[in-house]
Amino acid sequence: MQIHSLTHLTLAAMAAAALTACGGGGDDDGPKAVTLEFAAYAGATPVKCGTAVAGLGSGAVEAQIKDFRFYVSGVQLIKADGSKVPLTLGANDDWNLTSGSNAVTLIDLEDGTGSCAGTGTAATNAVVKGTVPAGDYVGVELTMGVPFAFNHSDYATATKPLDIQGMAWSWQSGRKFAKIEVTDPAGVAGTWTAKTFNFHLGSTGCTGNPASGETVSCSTPNRMGFHFHAFDPTTQKIAVDLKALLAGTDITKNVAGAPGCMSGGTDPECLKVFEALAIDWKADGSGTGLPIDEGHAQTLFRAVAK
């Protein structure tokens, strides 16, 4: 009989645990599910692969999207009193990875069609999904970037979503935090003197330790912090504005450095781009790569109605 009662006890405990894990079955005190949705825009217009985008760069030219992917990490919801609560991502999958105290999500707004066929993939992911403890939240804070603890892992052996070759950045033994590219809509017959404007964000000035075989530091982190003091994920989404990213830059030519802005510390095509990101960048290479004033003045991300 002792066995019988033990079984009862165990079942009861399991049921209780299951209820807790499921969020209390509608109980208001349980964890709260949050979905943050991203969408590609140029100004007020939604944009996608395969459809020409008008009005980009200093020349307000037309371009085709070639790639539109970025990593998001450090997501925290903001309470009315200003305190912040980290979002706990759902289970690890193709787009999300949590390991220890670090978490990252790959946002993929290209579908591999049109000019995105060359480097893109058919699969897409526009959301960061997770949970926070019950409570009232008014805003959200995010980072466009890969946490240092993840950034320099081997692409060949890395866990999803850090295994995407297109997001690898062997140049700095790290990853592209963002890979947003636009190309001449007329292709080889077009008039752009540099056919593709590449925006690749990533940590630079990285060094390794030959004795340990590990990357140990990067002088210029280039992780973009941004936030919305007022954001309701049930009625709003986050627009990623291509027009703002490229504002003031002639995207049809490459004055110097890598084609487009690949986070080069002295690349003239990075001047306006980093202004849009509100990351400290200076033409003489002395920029710190840190967010300016917590990214208050950034223009790339904007809250819009769903």
Binding site: H152, G205, G264
Partner: protein, 399 residues
């Protein structure tokens, strides 16, 4: 005399140059003269692999998660020479790394599998296991495993051209080959699906670690088995002497100044601007070949590149990161002049006056005979056995 070198180092350098008290001299030289490395006498090895090395070569460093084994090295040799490993099946690692040229390709700039011109010249791979950093100027690349991701997966420029769209198809080519199935199983025993990118990379890295070159005429001379000619002897004395000062950057057993090995604790990774360019007098090097500056954007890093090992330098022409110096005689002229003065064209500028130039590269009073003697000594660093060692050769030729 060079006031920068401590007296102890100068004395030991002479001991090395003279071939006397060699092992002790080397150990102290490496440990006490700015290399920051430490030579140990016992050589850690695993049951699976035994290194065959000259006495003055330290035990190579092998990552804990990629121990050496004969089946793994042999698999790596097949993969290294197999064009199926590129996206379009047209190029292998060996396409730009020819054994008869100490595993470089004889070109100013290499060409990738899709025809894209690489901005830099392929490097030789002799003794690459001892390189503290890999490629010409990248402080972040410190293992052969990580380095290999660049030629395999790199996009700018495309080398092997493996990408998200074709990486599974490329592996499938290997899975469809019964010979590879057996070789991967032997190299990675106990793994249920051994054919994958991590193991491809581990095997090739293991093969690369076996590319040891230590049997040149100079090595045999050090071991009392050969005699240097009068010209080689004069060249050696100039090379290791205070006049030519070549040894500052090329003075280790591997004739470079970035060494990592099994006993290393702290490893210094110097990079040098040798005055190859000075565009418009600003110090600039041509894009995208500005050395460490490309990664760091720090002015002091302009034009700084890693000093390559000079072993087998006779067969690794053309020289410099962009292949713009064609012969060893011209390399000697370049260093004797303390840099290169380009008088016309887009790269015009006096490299001798580059503000970021290493202070070790200065005008040297080297006669034509001095220069010719140093070239003769450098030719004594060619390891002819290495250039045709069947253990490194293309296995598909013999099949």
């Amino acid at each position: 005399m060079n006031p920068r070198a401590p007296a102890r180092c100068r004395a030991l350098r002479r001991a090395f140059a003279g071939g006397a008290t060699l092992l002790a001299g080397l150990a102290l030289l490496a440990g006490g003269c700015g290399g920051g490395t430490q030579v140990i006498e016992t050589r850690p090895s695993t049951d699976a692999w035994t290194w065959v090395l000259p006495a003055y070569f330290p035990a190579p460093k092998v990552p804990a998660d990629n121990q050496m084994s004969a089946p793994k090295v042999e698999l790596g040799r097949f993969l290294f020479h197999d064009p199926r490993l590129s996206g379009n099946g047209l190029q292998s690692c060996a396409s730009c790394h020819h054994q008869d040229k100490a595993f470089t390709d004889g070109r100013l700039q290499s060409i990738g599998s899709t025809g894209e011109l690489h901005p830099r010249s392929a490097q030789h791979l002799g003794n690459v296991v001892y390189n503290a950093t890999l490629t010409w100027a990248n402080p972040s690349l410190v293992t052969l495993e990580r380095q290999m991701e660049t030629p395999l997966f790199g996009e700018g420029p495309v080398e092997m051209g493996v990408n998200d769209a074709n990486k599974d198809a490329v592996l499938q080519r290997l899975r469809d080959d019964a010979d590879y199935a057996a070789r991967f199983a032997a190299a990675f025993p106990g793994e249920s699906t051994p054919i994958g990118w991590p193991n491809v990379i581990k095997a090739i890295a293991s093969f690369q670690r076996t590319l040891i070159s230590g049997n040149s005429k100079y090595d045999r001379y050090l071991q009392g088995q050969a005699t240097l000619s009068a010209s080689e002897e004069r060249g050696k004395n100039l090379f290791f002497g205070e006049k030519a000062e070549c040894f500052h950057c090329h003075g280790s057993f591997n004739f470079n100044d970035q060494i990592v090995h099994a006993g290393s604790r702290v490893v210094e990774t110097p990079f040098h601007n040798t005055g190859l360019y000075n565009i418009g007098g600003t110090g600039a090097f041509p894009e995208p070949n500005r050395g460490v500056f490309e990664l760091s954007a720090k002015a002091d890093d302009m034009g700084r590149f890693r000093a390559p090992s000079l072993r087998n330098v006779e067969v690794t022409a053309p020289y410099m990161h962009d292949g713009t110096i064609g012969t060893l005689a011209d390399v000697l002229k370049f260093y004797a002049a303390g840099g290169r003065h380009i008088t016309s064209g887009p790269h015009a500028g006096d490299g001798r006056a580059n503000p970021y130039k290493s202070d070790l590269v200065t005008l040297i009073d080297l006669s034509e005979q001095d220069q010719a003697d140093i070239v003769e000594f450098l030719k004594a660093l060619t390891d002819h056995d290495f250039l045709k060692d069947p253990r490194h050769a293309n296995p598909f030729v013999a099949r």
